[in-house]
Symmetry: C2
Subunit: 397 residues, 2 copies
């Protein structure tokens, strides 16, 4: 069975200046392909240390995936490290050089000389086209092992994965693994744990749970010889869970609360506007990030403390929240108004008990006091997620 290993490189990762999201992306992709991931590691832009990590990987794994170190600068050394390990010489590939030159011509920029090393190859490597940047990747096959060399910027890496890597790896899969994540809102982790206890001990499908800002998630994973059988195992367990958790479940897999709420708005063709205070634009941004909603989401008002008087808003109360929801509807001529209000913020924390979410539309209005308290940025996220959860149900009725 294929053993895979991920190596992400970049001193900025080891020094903690940026977070590594590539490992989790690739890990997720490998899981979906039924390829076992045994090791992941991070190494700095240092030739000897990087070489050491790669050599160890070459000795213990069949499939090595690297990210980073393909840029034009002198600190970018992945090609050099791979070439040295395999004892092969890098040469400039005329076709890659031509593509690179054309890229810079299109951008109306003179190509700096140090970009030229992005056009190099070694005999064991085939180039992986980069449609989102200048650095091609490498697909290296040698002595029964595969090294896949990918760029570090997440968007370039992911685009290359989808266009040039995924399908080729399909052929290396050893089993069909199917996962589904069930997303809930409004339950405590330990209580969900107690409810699903019998399923936590099952070996296939397995069930795992964890807490997220958008609620408690449950992950069902099944392994089988065929995709169909794996899907059946997952679907059966999903039915068990849905019976237990019912309307606490708001979505699965890639669903987000904003997309789930957006879907209901699209089904009912209702326009929406928002008004918010202490969340400072987070609610508007969540909804504006859903492309499908661009006609129905009309916009939002962000009213910070110093501007409350100018908009004739009193202290935070159920009445003020309704007033905000109405204001949003009127200013943006929308059918539904959704509002979040909170108390005057002092320091980094939100005083408890005075957060309100109001929804108004179709002659109905509703106010919810979530009763949150705690660190301001966490409470902002929690309240926005709660508001989207409530919006979904409001539109549904």
């Amino acid at each position: 069975m294929l053993k895979a290993e991920i190596i992400t490189s970049g001193t900025e990762l080891l020094l903690g200046e940026i977070a590594d999201t590539n490992t989790s992306y690739i890990a997720g992709q490998l899981a979906g392909l039924g390829i076992n991931l045994y090791y992941t590691s991070t190494v700095g832009d240092n030739f000897e240390r990087y070489s050491g990590v790669l050599k160890q990987a070459w000795e213990r794994s069949d499939l090595i995936i690297t990210t980073g170190g393909l840029g034009p600068t002198q600190g970018d050394i992945t090609r050099e490290v791979v070439s040295a390990l395999l004892g092969e010489k890098m040469t400039i590939d005329p076709g890659l050089k031509e593509e690179l030159t054309q890229f810079f011509t299109r951008m109306h920029i003179d190509m700096p000389d140090n970009n030229l090393k992005q056009a190099t190859l070694i005999p064991s490597a085939q180039a992986l086209h980069n449609t989102a940047g200048t650095a091609p990747g490498w697909w290296v096959e040698k002595e029964g092992r595969t090294i896949i060399v990918l760029p570090g910027p997440p968007r370039e890496m992911q685009t290359m994965w989808q266009n040039a890597v995924r399908e080729r790896l399909e052929k290396k899969r050893s089993a069909y693994i199917m996962s589904r994540v069930i997303k809930t809102w409004g339950m405590a982790e330990a209580n969900v744990d107690l409810l699903v206890t019998p399923f936590l001990k099952s070996a296939n499908p397995t069930l795992a749970m964890y807490a997220n800002p958008d609620g408690i998630r449950l992950r069902i994973t099944a392994r089988a010889d065929s995709l169909k059988r794996a899907e059946e195992l997952v679907a059966g367990r999903e039915r068990d869970i849905r019976e237990l958790l019912k309307d606490k479940i708001w979505g699965i897999d890639d669903d987000t609360l904003e997309r789930v709420a957006a879907k209901r708005l699209l089904q009912k063709k209702k326009t929406l506007a928002v008004a918010e205070t202490f969340t400072g634009g987070l609610l508007a941004r969540s909804l504006s990030s859903v492309m499908e909603l661009k006609e129905l989401f009309r916009g939002g008002l962000v009213i910070m403390g110093g501007a409350r008087a100018g908009w004739e808003l009193g202290e935070s109360s159920p009445e003020t929240a309704i007033k905000l929801a109405r204001l949003a509807r009127e200013k943006f001529r929308a059918e539904i108004g959704l509002a979040i209000d909170g108390p005057e913020v002092t320091g980094q924390s939100l005083p408890g008990g005075k957060v309100f979410i109001a929804i108004e539309g179709d002659g109905n209005d509703e106010v919810f006091p979530p009763g949150y308290l705690g660190r301001l940025d966490q409470m902002a996220w929690r309240t926005v997620n709660h508001a989207l959860f409530l919006l979904k149900d409001f539109v549904d009725r």
Copy 2:
């Protein structure tokens, strides 16, 4: 010299469902302490695999830091894995049990039985107090090695690090390492690389550069026997870089464009309001997230495509951008209005050439056409960062 290793655990990490931010945080902390980080890895919630990774770490490292697996559920196994490695028995500590019970009493929740394992210790472990959650960490000392067992939720982990771990690790430092990150806006990576080439080859201090959504960053790192000497080395190189890059530099280290812009507003005591279209609340949210600005940032308007007519906005143009900036000032009675406008969005991309940033205040107004094009979410971030960079200079004059 101390060799450190980080192990983050959680099957959700290996399956790519959430990104691991703990490794980068701890890596950064260790770097600041002059402790060498040699390995980082991630392992799932599987007893045998986790035990294998921990045993290897025990054999090759002096300082092992784990995160995750301390929750109340059956999938949380870090305590069990550490106890098994050391051949020690977990027992409930009466003091920890009391604290846990009190926590649940304060929250007016009955304590589920499965939370009890969070009150266990082994003979080699001392508890690390968790002020942000229910799971205490462990500080284990045995056979000249140290294992620091931390919770997985980033806020709990970071709070515990700052309160109970950092100071104790200070005593294990082997050198003084000092880093500074210089942040720039408005230059291409390859061009910065050419400008700073002589410094990229220096061994102490070192210089590294990388691209970020808020511009190109340069990191200076110096190593010395005393903190004072390390600081001198960094300060000297910072002067060199500032001479080269001048007003392209907008901040250092933890600075963010929104905080830098906020600082200028606070110095000049100017109130601000914003209006934005395709960025959908991102500009408002950036500014509202700066606590110090809560009096001066009055709020914002988010006007999506479908609501443009209602606000009497024509096609995106320099005039429309100025109109939006004025609208923001008027509606929120602010001294400065900052606006972002863009063309009608089609699909996931932004058509080029029609993005405008306008600033108005004190009888002046200015419009900038950044000329961005590309994927919508990236362009939204880039435009917001550009607007904040321009705001800083506008307030400065």
